[in-house]
Amino acid sequence: MATPLEGLIRFTLRETARHRVFVVISFVSLLLAALYVGMNWPKIYTSSTSIYVQEQNIMGPLMQGAAVQTEVLDRSRIAREIIGGRKILLKVLEKTELDIHAKSPADLERMMEGIRQRTTVTGRPNLITIEYRDSDPELAYAITKYLANFFIAESLADKARESEGAFEFIESQAQAYKQKLLQSEEELKRFRTENLEARPGIIGEIGQRNAALSAQLEQISQDLSEARIRRASLVKQLSGEAEMATNFSRAEQDKTRIAELQSQLDTLRLSYHETYPDIIHLKAQIQDLRAAIAREGSTQGTRSQGTSSTVIDERVLANPVYQELQRTLYQTNTLIETLASRYENTKRSLEEQMELGKRVQDYEARLAELTRDYEVNREIYADLTRRRESARVSMNLDREQKGLTMRIDEPPYVPHKPSGLQFVHFAIGGPILALLLPIGVVVALRKLDPRIRSEERIVEELGLPVLGVLPHMLVPIEGKREVASSLLLSLLLLGGIATMVVVVIQRVGGQG
């Protein structure tokens, strides 16, 4: 059994032989066609230049961390767009004086489109290659040169514009933040003036004071209840005692009492103001007693005048225990009243303090907010100011074209050899193509044809026995025809090849 490759080769040879007329005619026609095309193929000269770019986006470092940067576009695409732009192409046409030939704006557009199509811009990181093809080598060189120069100039101008824009943007932002900062500063000031009592640390003070007042209130309330208990027990005791042991003059007693109160008052006056509640109270009591004495005196007068007989002896002494209890009761009463009044006062001032505390809390919250605003604005403003200064430097660098490194890495050249397909390619490729194409067509068509062309397929695919394989039997007339056609085909083949050889030799000789 033949290997698949062997089979294919045999198949190809057999089919080629079977269709030799088609193959030979196609071969010769294709050969001559290739020759013709090759002879008339336009010569294309390519000039190229590469530009080294060390470009950094100006906004990148300037705005690092402060803003999210938009994605940087593919450099070669940008370059292609710049080079394909009307601006540069018009300048190139002007420089090469091609625009003189343009009769109408449409002509000009067509010329520009032509340049655009014949220009190839390829970019690697940091290297842009501009390639221009033309039938005129000088023109190819000139246009490549101008394209590169204008591209560099345009890029520099673009970059300057870009950094200027960046500066302006940052500047405007800085101004806006400055405004905001001033505003928040102003707000803070106004708030502080409006709330003078709210000085820093007042919250702590109020807390302490409240604690003290609460303790005091507690103490007073305790004292008050003690005093009340005492008074109750005094009243009980007093009711069990005889009022009179010896009848003391009531006025006498009152005088003694006034003297006592007076001395108490004097003691209090040493440490308190006249407005102190105890003092007020003592004063009131003394007043009361004096009034009682005065009343006593007048009744005694009337009594001595009218019913002197009923008057008991002045010398009769009142009961001393009773007296004592009475005195203590008075004292306790005084104490209770004093305490009650102090309790009220203390309670009121505690409430006041509480109120104040609440106000101060609100104030604190608002103050914190204002301060925060102020701080944030101040920080951003400081940052922007710093960046603005860097931007200013960058802008100045670009203005003076010192910040960008963009230089022609490989200068354009005048091409002396045409690029692309040349006659020699046609001379070599033509025969190969002319040979392979018709054979390929024949083989492909035969391969696609489902009809049986080998006995192996009958055996393999159908499993039917093949008794024999018969070749074609030529009768003499067929033989003669075959000879004639073979001769004719050979002549055709030889003619085609000879033509080809002659043309190639002429052409190559003419060039050399």
């Binding site: 057999r14 049986i452 397929r457 009958i458 039917l464 008794l467 070749p471």
Partner: protein, 280 residues
């Protein structure tokens, strides 16, 4: 050249028959000896008959080539060998005592007449065997050209006219040990010939006539004529001719099915092109 060829054939056949006869000079054409052929008796049987039939070839190799028929002396060894190989493999496959081989094809102009004629001619190369071509291709009787003489009664006449015997329609071909029954000339009323009992009788008679006679029936394409299928019934074996590049596998399968497994002998792949040979 032809002597050596014949000798080789003889050895291959393994039979030592009569000593080879003197080969005629190529100058003597079949047509020139036409009168002679008619004198020779047609009847008889056995080895003696074969001897009698083993007359000289009256046709020169050149003439035979023009008729696309092989001869032992032909110069195109490639075709000759291919046909002899075909003959050998056909004969090997034949069942004992069954010697009627029908040659049909998948399509028209597949070359089955060429195959039938040359298969018969190749069998006749062997001096121990004779061959008879029956041209059943009534619509295109191309095998009949081999018959010597014109307007000879053939199959048609035989089937129509009960008075004719088998001998009347067997004719010489100008090739040693090869006879032919041509299709005949009577073109009228030529439908449904093959259904007649007379055909079956003819075949039986032909088969029994000589022990070493092989009957090659040239039939129309199996898929294109009902005739072919009827004919297949009266034949022992069927050979299917598949022309190069003109038949799909589906077509072959259909044809093989139409023939039937029992009688299907095999396929002859015909007209396969070789690299061009310059032939003078």
């Amino acid at each position: 050249m032809s002597k050596i060829q014949e000798a080789l054939d003889k050895i291959r056949a393994g039979q030592e028959l009569l000593p080879p006869r003197k080969t005629p000079s190529p100058a003597i054409s079949g047509r020139a000896l036409k009168a002679n052929t008619e004198i020779l008796p047609n009847a008889g049987g056995g080895a003696a008959e074969i001897t009698l039939m083993g007359e000289q070839s009256y046709r020169s190799p050149t003439e035979l080539v023009a008729l696309r028929t092989i001869s032992g002396a032909m110069s195109d060894g490639l075709v000759l060998n291919a046909i002899r190989e075909l003959r050998t493999s056909v004969l090997q496959r034949l069942d004992e005592g069954k010697r009627i081989v029908m040659v049909t094809s998948t399509t028209h102009r597949a070359g089955n007449t060429f195959v039938a004629r040359n298969l018969a001619a190749a069998i006749a190369l062997d001096e121990g065997k004779t061959a008879l071509i029956v041209d059943c291709n009534l619509r295109g009787p191309s095998a009949s050209h081999l018959a010597l003489g014109e307007d000879r009664p053939g199959l048609r006449e035989f089937l129509k006219n009960p008075e004719l015997s088998a001998e009347d329609i067997i004719h010489r071909t100008g090739i040693a040990r090869l006879r032919i029954i041509p299709a005949g000339n009577d073109m009228e009323g030529m439908r449904e010939f093959f259904t007649s009992i007379r055909l079956r009788e003819l075949m039986e008679e032909l088969e029994q006539r000589y022990p070493e006679r092989y009957i090659i029936v040239d039939a129309p394409p199996i898929m294109h004529a009902a005739d072919a299928r009827i004919l297949a019934d009266v034949c022992d074996h069927v050979v299917l001719v598949v022309p190069f590049g003109r038949t799909t596998t589906k077509h072959i399968i259909q044809s093989a099915k139409a023939i039937g497994k029992e009688k299907f002998l095999g396929i002859v792949f015909n007209d396969k092109p070789e690299l061009p040979r310059v032939w003078w």
